[in-house]
Amino acid sequence: MSAHSHADGKLPHEPEKATLEGRNKVLGFWLFLGGETVLFGTLFSAFLALRHQVGEGNPTGQELFQLPLVALATFLLLTSSLTSVFAIQAMHRQQTKQLISWLVITVLLGLGFLILEIYEFYHYVHEGHGFTTSAFSSSFYTLVGFHGAHVLFGICWISLLIGQLMKKGLTVITAPKVYVSAMYWHFIDVVWVFIFTVVYLMGKVG
């Protein structure tokens, strides 16, 4: 192990859990994700309750959704989840440079996902599927939009952490932040698994 970035020497093996503060942060974040699960569970409920309420003459999900685009978005997000695991592995090996590169790749993939989603929404609005069109459209944009906002937040957050890593290096203070942001990123990916299943695939079936 040659890549020591921390001036004080070697970090503990799991630097994210080396301090009480770090352990609190990881536990607190798990709890927060529990709350987020309920948040998305309720959003899914609302969407499921309203997804057939399309209204006269408005495009249905079956007509709107383009699966190849969704598949591409799914692939990007899934890959970004893998790269964020690699980032955490690099962190555990204390290779700050690799850690930063994996995080950069994660952010870029997330950005790609977000661009696809914005393009998708733009396209739908042109097809006459606006936020206020029907109960289906309102609940669709709210559910997928909440997820998109989470992705956007994650991108900003991880970018900020990359900056901190470059400035402060990997320490027992920055490590829990990176770890927790990776948890958040996985969670976003897990939510997306249900979105492409429930919103897009089930919507395509009818």
Binding site: N24, T42, S45, A46, L50, Q53, S138, T142, W157
Partner: protein, 595 residues
């Protein structure tokens, strides 16, 4: 504006309680005689909506949070909560959410669709002004604070316990706060979504609850009550915990059936999520659903009954002292039983068709919330006041508070059962003469004024006490059983100069029984690390407050500016490391005494 806001913030929460109480008294004055014209019908709707909303979200929960903040770290032998910054943020978001809600009085009308804010009444068609917008955005902001508080207490209780403080040695109050925090965590996000959906409907013309465009009004009821029912248990469980502590201390006995208490609490928390549709029996979910929710609701009576019996058995054969706290706890038990019994009556779906939306329901939930929770809070305040402020409350005035409040409470709400059975609907502005409602309503109003007198007596007590010297002993009740009574009153900033070693349940009592003077320390005296105070939580909450106004009045630049303020604070918080400061051992002695 320190990070550790546990003592100073108490006042704001009490003010919301007083506002809610004032609204209640105005409601009762309007109803004291038939065809009264004390307030207009519109004003009455606003009063009853704001009374419910204020009492639940801005008075009851924050008062509980204040107690939790002060007591939980002490009871588990911790220096502080796990996330002091979030603690402070939670307080400020709560305060600004509450302020936003109450600003509505001065900007053309408070929300008037009831605290449940059912659609379509709360939709733009029937509530066209900004009243309900204030409800939606104010509660959304205040809800952030509650959620953060829940996470904070869970993490604190899991990670910060002193050596030897295993889960099954935790004081009952800590246990109930733990379960309540879990309920907050799983219930509040549902409200977040419901409020967001209603906000989108009202501000951005979405169609969640607009049947004309395919929306579904029943959806709101489901979302609201999947949050709303656990909310009831979020409120009452900590009160159960307080009562357990007070009953033990003033009976000089160990809590009867401690482990059954713990499991009963868990069971109530679990079942609390399975019963929300009992608020919707008359909605038309069908006989199967009604039957299932009916049975699930009645099941809750079992663990609750366990608790009631445990308290009685704790007192049985104990040498009971009738201090004010003890009186409130003892008064709590029969009162809460009555609320529980009417709860089981309401849980019977066919009977509920008769009780629904009548004063019987009003009587029921005031018995559990005022008779349960507020009595519990009063007991807790009188019990822990010396630990929080270093001064004993006056016992004589305390007893006057108890007697007026207790009698006033039963006068107000006992007769409302019969008003309901006679057919008086809830939430009506006035009633006709000759329906048989006159006498009972008059009694109820007199009772409400008596409760008001009781509350004023409590305020006088606080003022008188504040003028006295800080001379409360470490263990002012002399029979303290738990860790908070092992340290000075009020608790020093760092709580424990040395983390205590816990050797059993009722940690301090065990040391007393073994003839020790105090707790055995688990670490040598050393310097204590403290977090720095931060102004960021305040600024973040101001940002949210501004953003709320911006969106409400469709001024998106102001809305965006508010959000930018909030996110900027988050960035600053992330980038700037908080190294905190240290309190050195030689500073500890002097500080420990006066603090």
């Amino acid at each position: 504006m320190t990070i550790k806001n546990r003592h100073s913030v108490f006042d704001c929460r009490r003010i919301f309680f007083l506002i809610g109480g004032l609204e209640a008294i105005l409601i009762r004055i309007q109803l004291w005689k038939p065809l009264n014209n004390f307030v207009s019908a519109d004003m009455f709707n606003e009063l009853l909506t704001m009374h419910g909303t204020t009492m639940i979200f801005l008075a009851a929960m924050p008062l509980l949070f204040a107690l939790m903040n002060a007591i939980i770290p002490l009871q588990i032998g911790a220096r502080d909560v796990a996330f002091p910054f979030l603690n402070s943020l939670g307080f400020w978001t709560f305060l600004f959410g509450g302020l936003l809600l109450n600003v509505s009085w001065f900007t053309g009308g408070a929300p008037d669709a009831g605290w449940t804010s059912y659609v379509p009444l709360a939709g733009t068609t029937y509530s066209g002004d900004h009243g309900v917008d204030y409800y939606v955005i104010g509660l959304q902001i205040a809800g952030i604070g509650t959620l953060l508080g829940g996470i904070n207490f869970m993490a604190t209780i899991i990670n910060m316990r002193a050596p030897g403080m295993s889960f099954m040695r935790m004081p009952m109050f800590t246990w109930t706060v733990f379960i309540t925090s879990a309920l907050i965590l799983f219930a509040f996000p549902a409200l977040t979504v419901g409020l967001a959906a209603l906000m989108f409907d009202r501000l951005f013309d979405a169609n969640f609850f607009n049947p004309a465009n395919g929306g579904n009004t029943i959806l709101w009821e489901h979302i609201f009550w999947i949050f709303g029912h656990p909310e009831v248990y979020i409120l009452i469980l900590p009160a159960f915990g307080i009562i357990s502590e007070v009953v033990c201390t003033f009976s000089r006995k160990r809590l009867f059936g401690y482990s059954s208490m713990v499991f009963a609490t868990m069971l109530i928390g679990f079942l609390g999520f399975m019963v929300w549709a009992h608020h919707m029996f008359t909605t038309g979910l069908g006989p199967v659903a009604n039957a299932l929710f009916s049975i699930a609701t009645m099941l809750i009576a079992v663990p609750t009954g366990i608790k009631i019996f445990n308290w009685i058995f704790t007192m049985w054969g104990g040498s009971i002292r009738f201090t004010t706290a003890s009186l409130f706890a003892i008064g709590f038990i029969p009162t809460f039983v009555m609320g529980g019994v009417t709860g089981v009556m309401l849980a019977a779906a066919p009977a509920d068709f008769q009780y629904h939306d009548s004063y019987f329901v009003v009587a029921h939930f005031h018995y559990v919330i005022v008779g349960g929770l507020i009595m519990g809070i009063f007991a807790g305040l009188h019990y822990w006041w010396p630990k929080m402020f270093g001064r004993m409350l006056n016992e004589t005035i305390g007893k006057i508070t108890f007697v007026t409040f207790f009698i006033g409470f039963h006068m107000t709400f006992f007769v409302q059962h019969f008003l309901g059975l006679l057919g008086m609907p809830r939430r009506i502005w006035t009633y006709l003469d000759g329906l048989g409602f006159n006498g009972l309503n008059l009694i109820s109003t007199i009772g409400a004024i008596l409760m008001g007198i009781g509350t004023v007596a409590f305020l006088i007590n606080i003022v008188i006490t504040a003028a006295k010297p800080r001379n409360a002993a470490d263990d002012p009740w002399e029979d303290g059983r738990t860790l908070e009574w092992a340290i000075s009153s009020p608790a020093p900033e760092y709580n424990f100069a040395q983390t205590p070693l816990v050797r059993g349940y009722d940690a301090l009592w065990k040391e007393k029984m073994d003839g020790n003077k105090g707790m055995t320390p688990a670490e040598p005296l050393g310097s204590i690390h403290m977090p720095s105070p931060s102004i960021l939580p305040f600024i973040m909450s101001v940002g949210l407050f501004i953003a709320g106004f911006g969106f409400m009045y469709h001024n998106y630049y102001i809305g965006a500016a508010g959000l930018i303020i909030m996110f900027a604070c988050m960035v600053i918080r992330s980038v700037k490391d908080d190294h905190g400061f240290h309190i050195e051992p030689d500073e500890l002695q002097g500080k420990g005494v006066k603090a």
